[in-house]
Symmetry: C2
Subunit: 328 residues, 2 copies
């Protein structure tokens, strides 16, 4: 493979001049630049990206940390963010943190070792202090990581309100809410508080079922359904994240409980899996593509030393009425 020296020799210039062209730094006359570019083409010279990275102290790689890409929400987010980062000229390093051992910490450690230019993190097992020690750009998806780290999230309070309004409009009197784990502070939890508040204000009874943290496996979901249906709760409305809502719907059908006539269901997130049920689910849809677009925009600004106006980008969720709340 041709080296910088081969290119320099062919173009009859010094290696430093070739380097200036490669790195687009310092003055090189148009004529010389052309000679060098022709030499590169003739020799099929491929710049060694490692060497260039060392020079620029950049790798062109952004790490994206999520608990598990097998979870539909994160699968869609990662799909979108990878495409967005690609248009900004970055490659995506995928880090699934739900693993044996402390993968999140190890991945963050990469930052200090120059492997990536920045991090977009959708996980939250580590203490905020760990993130504060990292002297590279970070954008947090749906997580508070301290004053200096920008957050991109959906306005979950409004999301919870939309869900409550839909179930209230359908005349529910007693509802079951599947809550995310309260182990870690997250904007995500606002929807539960707001949902419960609005329901209680209207005199509706609210039963909360708190889900375990970072459990996305079928066995766990099955256990949850068994818990819920064996408890003989008398509810006429259910609010929960996509996969929980779908499993509740399926279990209700198995037991010949009519949806929406006897029980109404609202799912939160609205990922593609909610398009795979019959009847179609009513959802509060997060704009996953917009979450990705905004995260990519912010990390790109930060990596390039630019500032941002907002430390908190709040997007709106949307109610999409399906057949699990009304007979359309």
């Amino acid at each position: 493979m041709a080296s910088i020296r081969d290119v320099a020799k062919k173009a009859n210039v010094g290696s430093a001049t070739v380097s200036r062209v490669l790195n687009n730094s310092g003055y090189v006359s148009e004529e010389t630049r052309e000679k060098i570019e022709n030499a590169m083409e003739e020799l099929n010279y491929i710049p060694n990206e490692l060497a260039r990275n060392l020079f620029h102290k950049k790798t062109g790689i952004i790490a994206v940390l999520v608990p598990s890409v097998a979870n539909p929400f994160f699968a869609e987010f990662v799909e979108c963010i990878e495409s967005e980062l690609y248009t900004y000229g970055y490659k995506t390093m995928l880090c699934n943190t739900v693993k044996e051992g402390n993968a999140e910490l190890e991945y963050l450690d990469m930052l200090n070792r120059h492997i990536v230019d920045g991090v977009i993190t959708g996980v939250h097992s580590l203490d905020v202090e760990v993130y504060k020690k990292i002297h590279k750009p970070i954008v947090a998806l749906d997580r508070f990581l301290g004053e200096d780290i920008p957050v991109v999230a959906v306005n979950h309070k409004k999301g919870g309100k939309l869900a409550a309004e839909e179930l209230l409009n359908c005349g529910c009197k007693s509802v079951l809410q599947f809550c995310g784990s309260k182990a870690i502070e997250s904007p995500y939890l606002d929807r539960h508080t707001e949902f419960a508040k609005m329901m209680k204000k209207s005199g509706v009874e609210v039963h909360n079922y708190e889900l375990e943290w970072n459990r996305f496996d079928a066995d766990y979901y099955e256990k949850v359904m068994k818990d819920v249906f064996s408890s003989k709760l008398d509810v006429d409305g259910v609010f929960g994240v996509d996969q929980i809502a779908i499993r509740f719907l399926n279990e209700a059908r198995r037991r010949n409980i009519a949806v929406p006539d006897e029980i109404k269901i609202v799912a939160y997130d609205g990922t593609f899996v909610t398009g795979l049920t019959e009847p179609r689910l009513t959802v509060i849809a997060q704009p996953i593509d917009q979450l990705a677009k905004q995260s990519a925009r912010l990390i790109s600004r930060l990596v390039n030393g630019k500032t941002y106006r907002n430390k908190k980008v709040l997007l709106d969720a949307e109610l999409k009425v399906g057949n699990t709340t009304r007979n359309l």
Copy 2:
């Protein structure tokens, strides 16, 4: 941040000696090594991974190319392969190739520019010749990329046979098969050939519906269902990939066609989405975790200059009977 020179000064040795310790190369006495390691700890020295990569000509990164990680099969594969590569000490660069422009080519070009140590590819839009030109280790998931590139795949011929046997055992007389696009040669297509062969041998009529290549969006699936149900095909058995099978099941239910009494359905792949239907789908399940394990094992061997016994690792799919073929 402390540099190698700071460490050398503190340990009272030359920079080259520190470098030998960092790279674990050349002789350094135990005593000196200890002095250097103590100095690193005291100065909180973090080795610059870019510089080390340049020295070793390795990055510790494996690129994983898939059409779209939002597709459940690839989401599960990527989840598993990321974990496997992590245990081998590699980070995963995720490359979704279904994009505007020629992302697959651009991603492959990274190889020649030293960004990654190797590639696992589950895509196939480019000509085999492109892959042959890449002088870095490649492992192909379910694709033929030439004699020298090892393939990890499921024995799809056997998979197709399992599906045919199940529908034959259920007494089907006329079946509809959703086929993958034949635009590119892939072991994946063997299941269609085998399925049709076995059916025809038993006197069963086979209707084939060829799906477009790399289309995973809901709109497309909707169009397919419209096509199929408006054609008033008289079939009593259906065989198709997970999302197609689920959507067929839902559409059948909407039209009050009894499954499995009037039509039996077998899904291929058996990803987590087949656990989200009621009735539960009968599936031919690919061992996605094993595909990932074997791909990671092979790429790790290749990156480390080792050989492999088999250029083709063939795994078995498994029939998991649900309620769309028999009333369990």
